[in-house]
Amino acid sequence: MTERRYASDFLTEMFNNPLDAGYAEAARRRAERGPDSAGRRIVGRGARALVLVATGFLLMVAYHQTVAGQPESSRVRAGLVADVQARQHETDLLQQQADRLRDDVSRQRDAALAAAGTDAAALNQLELATGTGRVRGPGTVVRLVDATPPVDPVTGKANGKNLGVVLDRDLQKVTNELWHDGAEAISINGERLSATSTIRTAGSTILVDFRPISSPYLVTAIGPEDLDRRFTGSRTGQLFRAIASQYGMQVSVNRVGDLTLPAAPDPQLHYAQPVPTDSPSTPVSGSPGSPVPSSPGGR
């Protein structure tokens, strides 16, 4: 009477004896039948060689697939980045050209006005106020930097939501407060704000007048000597101190003795027309050195 044997289940079998049972079977058959004939051996060797060639081929193909697949995406990305940079460079060149031409125009206009005997200083004052002319003077720089994203200590990857990222709202608050504190001209990362300027977000990028800017954000303002103290003492200043201590956003306010702000691009007005008044008089009558009331309208 033979003892009934239970075949161990598949997983145990596999862990205990991973070798194909077929090999042992074939060996037993061979032992019973004697060695194979020469023809069979040659065919067998050929098939074995073929399988090994196929294995090597497969390995190489997989290697290529993995290695070649990686640079493909990064190559496309690099191409796009280069494209963007080239276009940005182009825009900068055009902007410089526009600035040069604008300088040219204003020089010629000044000369024409002087020849006609009109006061060119009044026009310059208007230009300063609207932001379409370059200006210099003492002021304050507010620097906002995105908080470094929280890093998972195990994986080393960024995790969670970074709450210390500078948003368009933050820049709007800062510029509003600066205007309120008496700033006369403001630019953000070299983009001068004018009466038609916008500060908004597209995707995760902040656009100032449709030009993308990125961290660190430098809000440069020309204004009274104590502009920095007024800003830090304000409600907005307190808010940003709180944000800095709580979410890690880096905020610094520094007074700078001499700042030069670029000109804003001409606001191409198509619909707004001047309203004719009964008494044509120059709206600004002060000397060139006196402060010009900046117009925070339009934002």
Partner: protein, 110 residues
């Protein structure tokens, strides 16, 4: 020696032709590679055990690759392609480790 030579020839062919895998076959490639490795390590183990058999080797290779591909294909159709791929890799990986352990015991007596 002969086997290693055949393997090297295969690698050379792959490097020479640099074939691009059709998109439809790409999910099967890693599974096919693992299945082929399983067959190869099984063959090496059998060789060291002195029970190597050409027919068994060829059949195990072909069936491994085909069945692995079929399982992944079925999984894709059923919407559990990644899970089944993982399953196939785990099973074949265990077999490969077991066979490598056998080879190691043979070669180093450890």
């Amino acid at each position: 020696m002969f086997a290693v030579l055949a393997l090297v020839v295969g690698v050379g062919l792959g490097a020479f032709f640099e074939p691009s895998v059709p998109l439809a076959l790409q999910p099967y490639l890693p599974i096919a590679v693992v299945a082929a490795l399983d067959a190869v390590f099984g063959g090496i183990r059998a060789k060291l055990d002195g029970v190597f058999d050409d027919k068994q080797f060829v059949v195990s290779f072909v069936s491994n690759v085909l069945v692995a591909g079929l399982i992944v294909f079925l999984g894709d159709k059923l919407g559990v392609g990644t899970q089944l791929s993982t399953g196939v890799v785990v099973v074949l990986g265990v077999r490969i480790f077991g066979n490598v352990a056998g080879i190691r015991r043979r070669l180093f007596r450890a």
